[in-house]
């Protein structure tokens, strides 16, 4: 039994059976210091990181849900009076952890450019037209199988000034929570066959080739809707629990 300075009593729980989340494999995530992407130079820690064990604050995490979502959030083509310009696409997939377990009821947030490669943002100055019928933001909650689905417009490429003739490959930004603080992920979805991938320091910041391909969606003719929209599958894999460490408490 411990008493804090505020007089709160913390009962001893003895050994708490907490999951341990697996470490990423080497090369799985980009190094924070990535010279090809110039803005990383002054924005990465230089001192060694300190190992943070996975305890109560880390194995729990925000479970944000329905209060943030409206039906229109998952269809970026119906958020205004008219239809946006561009190629209509369906982007769908499954959120699961690295053990293959679906992650249900988790918030998926996306943002992207319009068809012309222009973000609707006050600091965006790329001289491409805005589309009055497209904001470029979406939210969805995964279902019991970890599945999500958005209807949107094929985003465009845009110049970004990182180096001479620098153009970002078309992409959709994704933000996910999973169910634990350890699983939080912000990433980008790219399109198969995009010739700009080869030249992009952000995509190529990921050292491991197979991991990079995890960020490239797969075109799906089966899910493409005749006379209506192309479909891309983008599954997202979050850190799973290390089964060698975590033992289910005995009932």
């Amino acid at each position: 039994m411990t008493v804090s300075e505020q007089g709160l009593v913390v009962p001893d729980y003895g050994r708490l059976a907490l999951p341990e989340y697996m470490k990423p494999q080497p090369g799985n995530h980009p190094p924070l210091d990535s010279p090809g992407y110039k803005s990383t130079a002054l924005r990465h820690p230089k001192q060694p990181l300190v190992l943070l064990p996975h305890r109560l604050t880390e194995v729990t995490g925000p479970l944000l849900g329905d209060e943030l979502i409206t039906l229109q959030d998952a269809d970026l083509t119906t958020q205004h009076g008219g239809e946006p310009q561009g190629q209509r696409i369906i982007v769908f997939g499954q959120v699961r952890d690295s053990d293959g377990r679906p992650v249900p009821d988790t918030l998926v947030e996306i943002w992207q450019t319009n068809a012309a490669g222009r973000y609707r943002h006050s600091r965006e100055h790329h001289p491409a037209p805005l589309d009055p019928n497209f904001t470029g933001v979406g939210r969805a909650i995964t279902d019991q199988g970890g599945r999500y689905r958005f209807i949107t417009i094929q985003p465009g490429s845009y110049p970004w000034g990182n180096h001479y003739n620098a153009w970002r490959p078309a992409h959709i930004h994704y933000s996910l929570f999973g169910r634990a603080f350890t699983q939080r992920l912000v990433t980008q979805m790219y399109f198969p066959g995009d010739p700009l991938l080869e030249y992009d320091p952000i995509y190529n910041s990921v050292p491991d080739e197979k991991s990079k391909l995890r960020m490239v969606a797969e075109f799906s003719i089966e899910d493409t809707q005749p006379e209506w929209a192309l479909a891309y599958r983008f599954d997202i894999v979050l850190r799973g629990r290390d089964q060698s460490v975590f033992e289910e408490p005995h009932a």
Binding site: T2, S4, E5, L8, V10, G14, L16, L18, P19, M22, Q25, N28, H29, P30, L32, S39, T40, L42, R43, H44, P45, K46, L49, V50, L51, L52, P53, R55, L56, T57, E58, V59, T60, G61, P62, L63, S98, G100, I110, W111, H121, R123, H173, S175, R179, F181, R184, V186, T187, Q188, I202, Y203, S205, S211, K212, M215, I236, V237, L238, G240
Partner: protein, 189 residues
Amino acid sequence: MSELLTPSQTVGPYFSMRLPWPEGPYVVPAGTPGAITILGRLYDGAGAAIPDGLIETWQADPNGRFAHPDDPRGPIVDGDLAFRGFGRCKTNHDGSFKIVTLKPGPLPFGDGRTEAPHIDVSVFARGMLDRSVTRIYFPDEEAANAADPVLEVVPADRRATLIAVPGGDGLLRFDVFMQGPSETVFFDL
């Protein structure tokens, strides 16, 4: 068999189209009795404010409980739904951010030791290919901080970067330095 993870990428310069929302900085509604306001600024390695960063916080409630079923002690049971434990705030042109919350309680570490009250923090920004994770500890918890099993492994001369500075009247300051002489301690999660 373990699948390869989806790699992290930067939030980029335009995340504020989607991620912030008006109540984001309010872990508890403004005016909640006992609420504290944590004010800070995010700085880069040249000492310049980072105006396109995002701060997220996650923490226990004042009783040391979480709004989450994976806590083996069970989720918050007092029905205090206003406490979601999560805060999100975009940085302003001067790098400043604000989180309004309740001070969390201490937590069992699971081996008989106790964690001092703390808030887990994720820092995102353009130019950051992955988040950086840090913690906020409280200046009025000297004894608990001294016994904290996480602070204990932080080099002694850097611990102060994790402890908020009292600002008087329910205010705390917590600045985040990505680099430089007062570089904040970041964690390998």
